[in-house]
């Protein structure tokens, strides 16, 4: 058996569970019904560990340490504690920080509320902001869509998620995967007059009408890229998925 896919036994607060070596601890915790909040994790893409909400304490040998669970690899013999005093204390501060970063996000407010945090003692920078710089949008764009349309720029307090040169994301195919995966709904998508717009990346893409039924079903640019990726002729996408069946 592959060393990496080995079954291992580990504990969550005294109870034994089975996991796969190296899998995400957060994934395993959720599988077994433990409630650990997180914003930047998605099982379909690589872990990043930026939001710092999925903090847990892990005991490995004699050492017990606070760590994010999303990017912690499950290992034989570890024991995990999900709501120790320490975890609760730091999670509260992280939520307060997130409330100050993205005060306009309803989702963050709700999540904070679930953990008893209703207000923040910290200064709000931009009352309109909803983005928490979790990077899920760009990870999906790079790893799943392969469009590489957006990424982080800058660092520290000047870090932002953006299209190249803060202009239109010319590589964006308008698939909307970023919109779907964004935990705070801060990207925005709309379709009007057969044009799909991904609002945050300033990308407007004309949509292709189906040869058969006439419905504009996807951005032409997206279909062109898909055809390249799957090595099909462009005419493959002349029909909408319904008519193609």
């Amino acid at each position: 058996m592959d060393e990496q896919k080995k079954k291992v036994t580990f504990k969550i607060q005294g109870k034994s569970y089975e996991g796969v070596a190296e899998e995400s601890l957060l994934g395993a915790l959720r599988r077994y019904g433990y409630d650990v909040p997180s914003l930047c994790y998605h099982e379909a893409v690589s872990t990043y560990g930026s939001c710092r909400l999925c903090l847990v304490e892990v005991q490995k040998g004699r050492r017990k340490k606070l760590t994010t669970s999303c990017n912690y690899p499950v290992q034989e013999g570890i024991e995990v504690f999900v709501d120790t005093e320490k975890v609760i204390r730091h999670r509260k501060v992280v939520l307060e920080l997130l409330l100050a970063v993205a005060p306009a996000s309803e989702h963050i407010r709700q999540l904070a509320g679930q953990y008893g945090v209703d207000s923040t003692p910290y200064q709000i920078k931009d009352p309109e902001n909803q983005c928490i710089l979790c990077g899920l949008c760009s990870r999906v764009c790079h790893e799943l869509v392969s469009a590489h349309a957006i990424d982080f720029s800058g660092r520290g307090t000047g870090k932002k998620m953006t299209a190249p040169y803060d202009e239109t994301a010319e590589q964006c195919i308008g698939c909307g995967a970023c919109v779907y995966v964004c935990p705070t709904d801060c990207i925005g998508i709309k379709e009007e007059n057969n044009v799909r717009s991904i609002m945050r990346w300033h990308r407007d893409l004309p949509m292709k009408p189906c040869k058969q039924c006439g419905r504009a079903f996807a951005p032409t640019f997206q279909l062109m890229r898909f055809a390249e990726q799957i090595n099909k002729d462009r005419s493959f996408f002349d029909q909408c998925p319904d008519c193609r069946k």
Binding site: L66, H90, L97
Partner: protein, 630 residues
């Protein structure tokens, strides 16, 4: 075509020949060509000396050498006349003729150019100057002797002998064991035992045998320049250390080297490139080095200016061409680092220690420093450490002392104390993530563990001395804001936490803070330290926490009394004229940039508070002590 050494013996024979050809009594003028002295014009000075030597046809009588940093940067440009070792400081081009006529020809000293200490005592020889005398210069020993652009200079002082020793007589395992027993700990800041790291990397499985040997030369701490001086002054010592590491860690596999050097060090990049090329030409890098079977070469990778790229995983991401962001280290880089291969990363100074250990032996090395490392590699701190001594201290420069030397010895005996009769307040060690140590702890022996216990850290060896005119809240504000800017911005706790810490401290320095803000600082620091991913975040609150620990009363004064005792925080101070002292000389009026200082000639002046921007110029220029700052 230079000769390629095929065996260790050939190298040693060559060294003997080079040494024999050199006359130890030959007169040589060495000019410091470190970055500090270069900024003072030492290159122009050296060119001038060269010109006068040829004009006076003295080339047979005296040589000229542009060397690495001598360390006494405060007194640059530095010139040392060998073999006597006469030190001249603050030398100007108009002094050249005199040096050649009087010192070189007649052998007399020029008193005007000698160093004088604060008590007026005059010193002729470099080695007698207290700044040098109180140090133990092992790594820096050759900086003032060798021309970094000439490999023969390094060979003549015994360079590459350690390499010849390991490749000729020691198996990789034995070499590794030496480093383990020496107790050498990482000089980049963490103090992790190098031997433990090397062994883990050697033992980590590598299907293709490829192991990376990296030198971290991304020295980013404000005020730190020891790695820079080593690379600029003695680049071969770093290369030799890496070669020995490649043998111990990577042989018989395929080790490959990188030096990750910040692009802000153009001179270091240049000299290191020259050194690498010269080492290749002599067969000290490349295939089958000295006939040992070891293949190894070193690439230079220049950093793009991010402080965080000094963190090991961010550095490796940067070499790979990605954004320099740290990743979690649940799988260590010794197992899977650069390009997912086992990778051993050490700092410049750590590598430079390696040839010394091999050359002079474990017993000698472990006799220097603190503790006992024979059982536990964390049991002590061995060898010397170079500190960049800067700030409010008389002799700024590079200082190398044995581990365990007290702060007092470094600051007073070597550093010459605090200038202008001011009182010492604190010393900040360990770079921006270090901490401030108060006067009561001046007798603290400096080693990895003692500094950590004191709430600071060794870091890469920055040492910033502060006097009574330094506001500790303002210091914390500076470092927290530096780190907030330099955070990679990945973790919420670091990016947003540091921003908020900075805002709260700013409120304190502005006199707008409330009592509960101090509690908020405590709470938030703890989350930043425990909830962030890499060492930048986890150590970032140190400057704040250490000042809160040792100087809490200053914070409380700012908050409760709206008072800044060091008179630094502009919102909390006020300038006014002491009427009985003011002679109405109008000097402050002339210098005041905003027209806040007002009055008539020979009448008492006044400062209009609405216009005053609190720049302090009036106080600086007043000859009659007539400005009150409160």
């Amino acid at each position: 075509m230079a000769k390629i050494f095929k065996t260790p013996e050939e190298l040693l024979q060559y060294v003997e020949r080079v040494q024999a050809e050199r006359d130890p009594h030959r007169k040589v003028i060495t000019v410091c060509a470190g970055t500090g002295c270069c900024a003072y014009g030492s290159m122009k000075l050296a060119d001038g000396i060269e010109k006068v030597i040829s004009e006076k046809k003295l080339a047979d009588e005296v040589g000229l050498k542009r060397t690495g940093c001598h360390g006494f940067c405060e007194q640059g440009p530095l010139v040392v006349v060998q073999p006597q070792g006469i030190l001249y400081r603050k030398v100007k081009t108009q002094d050249i003729e005199e040096i050649l006529d009087i010192t070189v020809k007649k052998g007399d000293v020029i008193e005007r150019l000698l160093y004088r200490d604060a008590d007026g005592k005059q010193y002729q020889k470099e080695e007698d100057v207290p700044f040098y005398k109180n140090q133990m210069r092992l790594l820096l020993a050759n900086n003032g002797l060798v021309d970094p652009n000439n490999i023969d200079d390094y060979l003549a002082v015994g360079g590459y002998r350690a390499l010849a020793k390991v490749l000729g007589r020691m198996q990789p395992e034995e070499t590794l064991a030496w480093i383990q027993k020496s107790g050498l700990r990482g000089r980049g800041g963490g103090g992790f035992p190098a031997g433990v790291k090397w062994e883990s990397c050697r033992k980590a499985p590598s299907a293709n045998g490829l192991r990376y040997i990296i030198c971290n030369a991304d020295e980013g701490d404000p005020g730190a320049f020891m790695d820079r001086s080593l690379m600029e002054g003695n680049p071969h010592s770093v290369i030799e250390g890496m070669l020995i590491g490649a043998w111990a860690i990577g042989y018989p596999g395929k080790p490959q080297g990188y030096v990750y050097i910040r692009n802000e060090y153009p001179l270091a990049v240049e000299r290191l490139s020259v050194a690498l090329q010269q080492a290749r030409e002599k067969g000290l890098l490349g295939k089958n080095i000295l006939g040992s079977g070891l293949d190894f070469d070193i690439n230079i990778n220049r950093g793009g200016g991010a402080f965080v790229c000094g963190e090991s995983t961010a550095l490796m991401a940067s070499i790979e061409g990605f954004v320099g962001e740290p990743r979690s280290k649940h799988i260590h880089t010794v197992v899977s680092g650069l390009f997912n291969q086992p990778t051993n990363l050490n700092n410049v100074e750590t590598w430079a220690n390696v040839p010394l250990i091999i050359e002079k032996g474990i017993e000698w090395y472990t006799s220097i420093g603190t503790g006992d490392v024979s059982e536990n590699p964390w049991g002590g701190s061995k060898g010397t450490k170079i500190f960049a001594l800067v700030g409010k201290v008389n002799n700024t420069g590079l200082v190398e002392v044995p581990m365990g030397t007290t702060l007092r010895h470094i600051i007073y005996d070597i550093g010459g104390g605090i200038p202008a009769g001011k009182r010492f307040k604190a010393v900040q060690t360990g770079g921006p993530s270090g901490g401030c140590i108060p006067e009561s702890m001046l007798d603290l022996p400096v080693d990895f563990d003692k500094l950590t216990e004191a709430g600071s850290m060794m870091g890469s060896g920055g040492m910033i001395v502060m006097d009574e005119t330094t506001c500790m809240v303002d210091v914390a504000r500076y470092f927290i804001q530096f780190l907030a800017d330099e955070s990679c911005g990945k973790c919420t706790t670091c990016r947003e936490g540091l921003r908020q810490l900075g805002l709260i401290i700013e409120k304190i320095t502005n006199g707008q803070a409330q009592e509960q803000d101090l509690d908020l600082l405590d709470e938030l620091s703890s989350t930043v330290a425990e909830g962030s991913l890499c060492a930048l975040g986890t150590t970032a609150p140190n400057p704040l926490l250490s000042t809160l620990r040792y100087f809490r009363e200053e914070y409380e004064e700012h908050v409760r009394e709206r008072k800044c005792r060091a008179k630094v925080c502009k919102s909390l101070i006020r300038f006014s004229v002491i009427e009985e002292n003011c002679t109405g000389c109008m000097l402050c009026m002339k210098k005041c940039p905003t027209g806040a200082a007002q009055g008539e000639k020979k009448e008492v002046h006044k400062i209009e508070q609405e216009k005053c921007i609190k720049c302090g110029i009036c106080d600086e220029v007043c000859n009659f002590n007539a400005i009150l700052v409160e």
